[in-house]
Assembly symmetry: C2
Homo-oligomer: 319 residues x 2
């Protein structure tokens, strides 16, 4: 199977490669990223990779890659994916994510090749809809409440136009909160895991600074998430959007408590008012019925184990 | 009243200035455009204008203008406004329109000033919704079917975030098809009026090449449209979106017939298949109940008179 992966240096891509490396078939991959990945991955078991460092906005160059490589699938992971960054740089976040998506789709369209694209999106597109729906299904309307989410909702609109008017084969996800090894510590679960590990090791005073930790999110281990992507790549229906989520809500507070319990420490929690955001969505929980019906996918890793593995990762990576 | 107008060199802005010039109050205006307007308008009756030629994407410069001028109102007319252009250059159209909107809103936010922004949008955001709703009301969902429309739907999402999270005072329109003197002949009614005028004058063979002229649109004279904008600027409710439309649908074919009748000519119609577009929305008709309830605005110019004036304009401007 020949795949082109954008955002190749990112943490999701890394877990996706791990998943492929234990499959029965073999994979030939070109990975594109602005940055050289922090991991070597030229040949590993059944997976052969070539990494090309370029800005995805260079549609002509992406077109050349597609022409010569002829991928059967494209996994579009590339994105400025931090909500917090999007509050600091709304235009940059929004415009970057849509510029790279246009560049990619235009290259695919121009090639005329029959390529399936998996466009990874975000549960953040539901935004204010989550205040009206206890459980978010794919037919709930998009009503984004932050600039990152507006960018991802736009990406869905653009995809739909390229599907309907140009006949492209695109499957989209609305991926809910996911976490795991290698995720940057600007994301909240990685941040908590890292800081609590530092506290455990006595490298930091035992105070954890947080935003609103009573928000409820639907959280899935990234190793389960990439499994969902693999299934959708093979069996997703073109033009459809799929939630990728556990169906269960947990407060950030309960996750911190779980981490404290596993680490056998206690901390003082300190609220940083600057991290509070007017209009923040209090609860975001999805239904995974649609993807389950199609692919029988649901998260397999028990949440406690997922958090234990995350803490283990940070234990090995901070000193 | 102090106003900043973007897209100042465009045809809507020109009609808006004409409207202001017959009001009882006086106006101080800064107009911003990438292009120098094709009309002089420094001082006319009660209206004083200064034109600044710049790219609206330069948010720092827009901020400086806002700081020194302190406008009470901003009319945001600037946009790549052609659907056809957006099919040819999807990324450029989409990214330009959102980049300039971000630059403008960021400048307003940074200034901290209490400025009302009128963001002009498009009925095109309804897109596929028009296939499900005979008459489009503001609570119909946005489901854009072309890249220009996706850009305008994104603009609405961005506006909502700046209203809810940063407290900006923004009123938005969904303006349906409008036409009148000075509109570029890349827009369909201007194109028909110009070509039929050329035929009338014997400067062109009597064949009119068209796309699908059985599509039905809700069409309003631009002089009525700017009247709606003026009312919304003064009495619109922050955060709300308003249709600007007649409430009546007309086929392009019926408008061509009206033009032929007024010009007292006949032509051969010739279909150009390259102008047909898969997924084109066949009927787009809006309800103007919301704006009428608030401002008592409805179109005043009889359609036959509006078309006669358009033909008169082209009669004077082609030779």
């Amino acid at each position: 199977m020949k795949l082109l992966i954008t955002g190749f240096a990112g943490f999701v891509s890394r877990h996706f490669l791990n998943l492929l490396s234990v499959q029965d078939e073999s994979f030939e991959i070109i990975g594109i990223d602005r940055n050289i990945p922090g991991f070597g991955f030229n040949k590993y078991n059944n997976v052969t990779c070539k990494v090309i460092q370029t800005d995805l906005k260079d549609s002509d160059f992406i077109f050349e890659i597609i022409e010569s490589f002829s991928p059967e699938y494209i996994l579009h992971f590339a994105a400025a994916s931090s909500v917090q960054y999007s509050w600091q740089h709304p235009a940059k976040s929004f415009l970057n994510n849509n510029a790279i998506f246009f560049a990619l789709l235009d290259a695919v369209k121009r090639s005329g090749k029959n390529i399936r694209v998996l466009s990874t999106g975000s549960s953040d597109v539901y935004g204010n809809s989550a205040n009206k729906n206890l459980i978010l299904r794919e037919d709930c309307i998009a009503d984004p409440a932050n600039p990152y989410a507006a960018g991802k909702a736009s990406q869905e609109m653009i995809a739909k136009i390229y599907i309907n008017s140009f006949g492209l084969d695109i499957i989209q996800t609305r991926s809910f909160t996911h976490f795991g090894a290698y995720q940057k510590d600007s994301f909240v679960l990685a941040k908590f895991a890292k800081e609590l590990t530092l506290i455990k090791k006595g490298k930091k005073t035992s105070t954890l600074v947080t935003g609103n930790i009573d928000v409820v999110r639907d959280m899935t281990d990234v190793r389960d998430v990439v499994n969902a992507y693999y299934g959708l790549l093979k069996r997703g229906k073109s033009g459809e959007v799929y939630n990728v989520c556990s169906g269960q809500g947990r407060s950030l507070r309960s996750v911190i408590e779980l981490m404290l319990q596993q680490l056998e420490i206690s901390v003082d929690l300190q609220l940083d008012e600057s991290l509070l955001r007017k209009g923040e969505i209090l609860s975001i929980i999805g239904s995974n019925e649609k993807i389950y019906t199609l692919t029988k996918w649901k998260p397999e890793i028990v949440f406690e184990k997922a958090i234990a593995d995350l803490l283990d990762y940070w234990n090995k990576h901070v000193s």
